[in-house]
Symmetry: C2
Subunit: 383 residues, 2 copies
Amino acid sequence: MREVYIIGAAMTQFGKHPDRSLRSLGFEACLNALRDAGVRPKEIEAGFCGNALAPALQGETGVGQNVFWEVGINEVPIVNLENACASGSTALREGWMAVAGGFHDMAIVAGVEKTVMPKGTMLNVGAGEFETKLGEVFPGYFALIAKKHMERYGTTSEQLAKVSVKNHLNGSFNPYAQFQKLLTVEEVLNSPMIAEPLTLYSCCPNSDGAAALVLCSARKARRFKGQKIKIAASVLTTGTYDNERDITSWEVERRAAEKAYQMASLGPGELNVVEVHDAFTISEIIHYEGLGLCLPGEGGRLIDKGTTELAGNIPVNPSGGLLSKGHPVGASGVAQVVEIVWQLRGEAGKRQVKNPRVGLAQIMGGNKEGDTRVCTVHILIKD
Amino acid sequence: MREVYIIGAAMTQFGKHPDRSLRSLGFEACLNALRDAGVRPKEIEAGFCGNALAPALQGETGVGQNVFWEVGINEVPIVNLENACASGSTALREGWMAVAGGFHDMAIVAGVEKTVMPKGTMLNVGAGEFETKLGEVFPGYFALIAKKHMERYGTTSEQLAKVSVKNHLNGSFNPYAQFQKLLTVEEVLNSPMIAEPLTLYSCCPNSDGAAALVLCSARKARRFKGQKIKIAASVLTTGTYDNERDITSWEVERRAAEKAYQMASLGPGELNVVEVHDAFTISEIIHYEGLGLCLPGEGGRLIDKGTTELAGNIPVNPSGGLLSKGHPVGASGVAQVVEIVWQLRGEAGKRQVKNPRVGLAQIMGGNKEGDTRVCTVHILIKD
């Protein structure tokens, strides 16, 4: 298995882009990733595009072919990948495999999404129509998880709110974030209730946006002048029914993290910067535990200690996370890695973590309880 | 790059399955492919699922996770791939890469589709809404191609009709085919006109169905008792705007075929059995030329000579092709390879080609003129 480097990273502003097409957003991200790498489109040997909702929402398939064509990439293998919220990171893993396996020396990975939905529509991932009608949609399901975590571990509403406060503070330093305004614990707690205990500011928004990465082999990376970032682990796995016994922890995430640490030959104590899938405040708490940043049930206390703040020991979601940066579904997994690349290069501006060497990005995709879900974990190391 | 073998192949009956879910169809194909291989679900290390239309038509994402879960495959990497009509063959290529690249020793590839569409809906691949409204939908576009081929090369309506007659004859021997009835040239020519010169029986149907393959490395293949089939070439490429100068030939197909022949170290003269993407009768004629089975413009005369009939020198679409077997979009690319596997093993019953050693499957996906398209070519060899 060959070593794979990231030599280009870019993303669009996340937010509402009603006037822009998937092609337009993808074009911007891909063009800037190519410029960042100093690579011409004709040097790209394969393209991997993550998108979750275009066929359902825009009636558009072949999104990758369209996006990469806009930037002058064609006559190469192009593949469209879908794994719900993990679509973008799945594209990254397939791109990594293509380079690591020796099939290609230089590849582009993109994630693109427009989440404009007809009014009254609910996201229905998997064949969960029955559950959807029962109200078991994402906020409802995560509210149940939050309730259980509070009951079992004494996690408080204030601790949950602090996740949103931290991520909005980080996002206020991120020019690409959808929301760049500060929130207080009171504002989070007093925002409209969505599904108790989750309020409006406890839930990430739907967003439009795109992100892109340029990957290459060690041989090709030599000519690249900037700080090279190595992909030390790329793990994708699937789980089912894992929540029947304990809805406050995801077995699939623990398994993905364990594999990723093994692959990178390091442990959670060596991480300097982390991006996790904070679709809801409770999710970030549970990801702390799933990734081994703290013991099970200690997630709430970890946020209290400030460990995951920008100046803390393991800063989590310096980008603002999904809560503040936004969540263009198929783009989020790529954008997380863009942030880790920027952080490891020392290019993150006011939200720069101090001299990080190892970063991790985690995202999950899939259905509600009782169904299948995917988790990806990528570990990047400054070369 | 490691050698990759196909040790299991199965498909469902193609046709209309209004009472069955994607999961149900996928389950049947995967279970039978596993049984065919004599492999337990727990031995499968990764799953690749091709599907083109579920998000748009059924509002279902994560199809692969759901289908593979039904058959007991989980806790492994599962990826959903979309490349329009080439979605299934794209899943096969990604599965091939995963095994050839040394990431996994045993993988499953599935293609599943239900094409039930709301009445009056047109398939709109890519961002071609404007063209769709102008009537430039698939049958219209392929009618223009047929007209041009007739004008330039003297191809006749009778020659086009003979493609459908041949494929329906082959399909009549295939218990999995949607249509198992014989047609005459007159019946094809006199069926309702869809877009001149293409009549109803010149166009493939929309279908529901699934197909699956079990892939493994050479090491794992040793224990397999049946006839092993080696993947000698797996090529996926993309093209754009290639039809501006000549709509009667697809540059992307010629390029894919050339790469595949190079990879397998053989030429079109060595093929013993071929499955091509006969979405329309004219498509098969052009694929003869694109794959080098004959010279450009000679496709019509090749069908006249009987070369591509079951008893001919290079039988094409022994399964009945899309025209007779049916076209469940994301499943077709996998089903073509299932047929080639059965032919190479000598298991194709009444439609068995005489002692074939080398088989090829070709399929394209994508947009109408002036936009992007994908082509995959797989070459299989009896080990």
